[in-house]
Symmetry: C2
Subunit: 370 residues, 2 copies
């Protein structure tokens, strides 16, 4: 019965699209004693988690909490709370996660329009402006850091475009939060979600979200109940911020300890310092790859620091290289998805992983294997 | 920044309705190094988790997996995958979790009928038989261990009643699994869900579920897509049991380490031994409480071993007692919910908590405070 997978688990260098490497403080937090989800000591931790998330997301939104599921549950939460049947929704699509938004919103009965861009290129604000001139949308949604392609979308510019318009601005910051600036209030974002296993460097399992006053108004003006009991924010807020802290579902206590610690690690280093580190280590990686004759799949001005799409050289078996990198060098990198499968590797420099010595280890491994 | 809530966290004796006390092996597992969700070493752990859940649920169902959310996400998963608009659903209601089923199914557009019983009493099979004679239902749903009242519902008998009938039999075993027999195959259960923080003695965060071949047929015969991307089992199974292990959402790696270890602890002790221990410790608690002049709120034949509803004596401030028990004795017990608020305490004897020495500690505390 006690065949032990764990004793042989090494601290693999996680340089894929997430999960990323987890700092020691977070592992320690995960294994602290479980207490009750209504225990005053736990509620104090919840309150600080909310504050820490507000700081990192740069928002005064009171409804800023972690949802009890992974990043995709965050996506589901934002859409299911805001969409009613036949609501017009516009989705910017230039990768897997824009596609996923389309699927989620369509399943919920929205009237979904899509403005599409080539994978590996960013959303063009002008194309979006034309689309918005044609029709009024309840929700306009975009992915900040498109993890499937390594492209950074112009979330601040789109926010400026939407200023003063009735649409709710919904943003995916799963991969960006904690690795680059996310400024919810300045960018006019109404609903945003993230995940813990990317630049927050906590294991997967929680999805931080934030809703603006305008989004909460829309939620409260619904004609129909949210068709998802588990993710209904009307009830979840009673637990996270009500006077009575009414039980909704049992919160994932130990995962929340982990998130609390992970946010502490980032804020202690300093947000600007953390974002700078991601940028510097990204540039160091690009220089090293180019020196080896490898090339990046995304133009320099649209590259994400934390997710690097590297073109697979002609004649190289990309899956075999990943397999050997993992087995022989204990380094994980990611494969391409969708139309980019087989064409790119995805090298993550997320959170605790984003360090020069880790890039050196990867470059060393690649030199041996290529 | 490093205001440390953790250093002061004691190992509170968790005798509420969950979470329960967590054994050391599970804490250790939670803090093992995170690896990738597509790493072959992780897939080997996933495979063993499925086997261990099949053993504990006594089922050959291939689709037996943990869902990435707490117990209520398990409820949502079972209903959202099986319900299409206007499907007739019958729910047995004798507590909060039957009520929750009604709410979940109604939000999903089902035509919900309810057969209701007094809180604190079990579902009556005869009443259910009459109801089933009137109308054909796609789904008949019942809670095995009604955590809000301490009542055990006759899940095996209802399964026998439904044998040969077209209805899908949907069971909540959140609180029963791991503390008493749950025999999915022999009881003709088609869809079942649980949670990790009760008798599995793992922190909250995952919801083991199992679907029979008949339930999978119903899922595959749907006219409409599952209106919940995150919990769509059509896609989730591709990750958990597909040849290719296609990425759906990033699995909660470390929580799954914890579940793997928690299931190992139970199977190592032996299922029958574990169930016996729950029964014996429950009887020891009841005897001790009665000796003190306290009385149980549920008739002996319907009592759950792991969730004990104790009548609050006349004139006692029940909330104040719970507060002092926690602050002065580091013991958590639960309050009543709904119509039982203020009338009962809920004393959990779940999993690792179910030990005679813990009962002694509680009785000692109660004697001092009452």
């Amino acid at each position: 019965m006690s065949s032990d997978h764990f004793s042989s688990l090494s601290q693999t260098l996680l340089m894929g699209p997430g999960p990323s490497c987890v700092p020691e403080q977070v592992y320690t937090a995960l294994s602290r004693p479980t207490i009750g989800h209504l225990d005053p000591r736990f509620i104090a931790i919840m309150d600080e988690i909310k504050e820490r998330l507000q700081t990192l997301m740069q928002t005064d939104n009171r409804l800023t909490i972690p949802v009890s599921g992974t990043g995709s549950a965050g996506m589901e939460t934002c859409f299911v709370n805001l969409i009613e049947k036949d609501d017009p929704v516009l989705i910017c699509k230039n990768g897997v996660f824009g596609m996923r938004m389309e699927d989620v919103a369509t399943r919920l009965g929205a009237a979904v329009d899509v403005v599409e861009f080539d994978w590996g290129t960013p959303v063009e604000v002008d194309a979006l402006r034309s689309k918005l001139a044609e029709k009024a949308y309840k929700i306009v949604a975009v992915v900040h850091a498109e993890t499937s392609t390594g492209v950074m979308n112009p979330v601040a510019e789109i926010g400026a475009l939407l200023k003063g318009c009735d649409s709710l601005y919904l943003v995916d910051c799963v991969t960006s939060l904690g690795g680059m600036e996310v400024n919810v209030d300045e960018w006019n974002i109404d609903a945003i979600y993230s995940g813990t296993q990317k630049c927050l460097s906590c294991p997967p399992g929680l999805a931080p979200i934030s809703f603006s006053a305008k989004a909460i108004e829309a939620l409260q003006a619904r004609q129909s109940k949210v068709p998802n009991w588990y993710l209904d924010l009307n009830m979840i807020v009673n637990y996270w911020q009500g006077q009575q802290r009414a039980y909704h579902h049992t919160a994932p206590i130990n995962m929340l300890y982990g998130l609390y610690a992970a946010l502490g690690v980032i804020l202690e280093e300093g947000m600007d310092q953390v974002f700078d580190r991601h940028r510097r280590v990204h540039e160091y990686l690009v220089a090293g790859l180019e020196e080896m004759g490898l090339s990046m799949a995304v133009a320099a001005e649209s590259r994400l620091p934390m997710l690097n799409a590297v073109a697979v050289p002609e004649g190289v078996d990309e899956a075999e290289l990943r397999r050997r990198l993992l087995q022989e060098h204990d380094i994980e990198i990611g494969a391409g998805l969708g139309v980019l499968a087989g064409k790119i590797w995805r090298v993550g420099l997320m959170g605790h992983t984003a360090r020069q010595e880790n890039v050196d280890r990867l470059l060393q491994g690649l030199k041996i294997l290529l």
